[in-house]
Symmetry: C2
Subunit: 311 residues, 2 copies
């Protein structure tokens, strides 16, 4: 069994050669669909595309004043947590945020420091919230990314709007989507690991729970006792506990800052951890991934990692 | 270790769902490059394309008479074997054909039964022999397949000409190429297995040797004693020895007959075994494959298959 474990580690290390080495390449203009599919999507490699969303009206329009006028009175879903970590391991729990209904202007009041409150707010509802909750803003962006839709032969499944405080963090995870992440204002900081690093990435299985803010302002953690346990990554890539997770020494994280007007192509199944500047606004497009042979191979890697870890 | 072996077998069986079930789909016309890349190349799936090479002059021109006139006097490389098996396991040897220099008209004499000889002839030199040895025929075909070259962003590495007797067989193997196989006259019969079937496919390591026809007409097997041993598949998929190779019960061979005017897309790393009608003529294009994550995953599958087999 030790030989299988060694082979998995060799595989992951060799795969580093397939991916950008610590920095993500830039494209200077929107690519041709076939070229993009062949060079980035099929080989599952990230890149940043410049001049692909920089012409959107949103880049100049989406000031706090404009947003208050357009959508200030809209009531939307906001993730509220005591520490900025929505959907993350806390002790022996996988804790999700309190989903609070608030007016958009209240969120802006908090972001702008006009209102003090305990807890961290993040508009991050990934249910196509730009379309469902903030449709008044749709004219300021494009409804899909035409070259990506041509490349993939489909339209996005979801278009999400993101706005949060500096302390709002997205813990390391992966998605079953091809993701185009467009920063409108501020900066997003991504830490990326390829799917092939799976053998080096620790997973646990956790009881799901949600934060709930009490009347006194303190947060409590409430178990969702009727929900099945959730597999999640307990490691913080910004401060990894290498004594507890020694295999993680073998990863080579790629760090990338996406600036306003830039678009990150975050390929399906890549592990990512995200932070941001205060009040950063972003829009992302989720295109459903293909469940092809790459996906089957990833599942094989995942189960073999689990089988050898528990032996 | 048994659990790893089981997981590999599960993976291969699950992957059958990704591929055509026993029959290969047909496209009725040459595809758009992006569409072809996305639907067939990236997911590594075979198909047959109709009306893609049927307009080539070769289809009507390449009669024995025309070929004698055009290239009859050309001396070319012909693979000669006692049994039709060039590059195949014979006992404890991997035996390659005698590479004989013959005029094209002599090969036609043998194919047409005008000359009797012991041994089986097959023009199958895969070094772009259409370009290097039979360039007088180049006007009768296209020098590359334009939509495939656009899809892959490159030209073919080799264009090969094939002409052989009914008893000439290509034993099961895989190539590191994206292959477009065009039948000009007669029929080719392919038996295909996806790369993901690797755990079910037996390999051995064999001393390389070549056939040599003696003056009395008998063939002897001459070891290439200075050559390294060769890994090859000892199984005959037309008559598999399931007692010796019980794992092979789990494959689901795809059988396909490619007729004159049809083009088979045989994806990289697919295992294939080939027979043909007597005198069948074909031209194939080899495009170099991408050594991307799919290739690394295949190598992982291969070494894990070997590690678990020898445990």
């Amino acid at each position: 069994m030790e030989s299988v474990k060694e082979r998995l580690a060799e595989f992951s290390t060799e795969a580093h050669d397939l991916y950008p080495s610590r920095v993500v390449p830039y494209l200077d203009e929107p690519p041709e669909p076939l070229q993009f599919y062949r060079t980035w999507v099929a080989p599952n490699r990230p890149c940043i595309i410049r001049n692909a969303c920089s012409h959107w009206p949103a880049l100049s329009r989406w000031t706090p004043q404009y947003l208050r006028e357009k959508v200030g009175s809209k009531v939307i879903s906001v993730a509220v947590t005591p520490n900025g970590y929505a959907d993350a391991v806390n002790g022996d729990r996988f804790v999700m945020p309190e989903e609070r209904r608030m007016s958009f202007s209240t969120v802006l009041d908090i972001i702008e420091g006009k209102v003090q409150q305990s807890g961290v707010c993040y508009i991050q509802k990934q249910c196509s919230n730009l379309v469902c909750e903030l449709s008044e803003l749709l004219d300021d962006v494009e409804s899909h990314v035409s070259w990506m839709s041509s490349a993939l032969g489909k339209l996005p499944d979801a278009v999400n709007f993101w706005l949060g405080e500096a302390s709002a963090v997205t813990s390391m995870h992966k998605d079953h989507y091809e993701n185009l992440y467009c920063v409108i204002s501020g900066e997003k900081n991504f830490l990326l690991l390829p799917p092939t690093d799976r053998p080096f990435i620790p997973y646990g299985v956790y009881q799901p729970a949600v934060y709930r803010q009490r009347d006194d302002g303190e947060f409590e953690v409430v178990d969702q006792s009727d929900s099945e346990k959730v597999p999640w990554i307990p490691l913080d890539p910004l401060d990894p506990d290498l004594d507890r997770f020694p295999q993680y020494r073998k990863v080579q994280p790629i760090r990338v800052t996406v600036k306003a007007g830039e678009m990150l192509y975050l390929p399906s199944l890549w592990f990512h951890h995200v932070t941001q500047t205060h009040g950063c606004i972003a829009v992302n497009f989720w295109y459903d991934m293909e469940y092809d042979i790459k996906y089957n191979y990833f599942q094989l890697l995942e189960t073999l990692t689990e089988v050898t870890a528990s032996s």
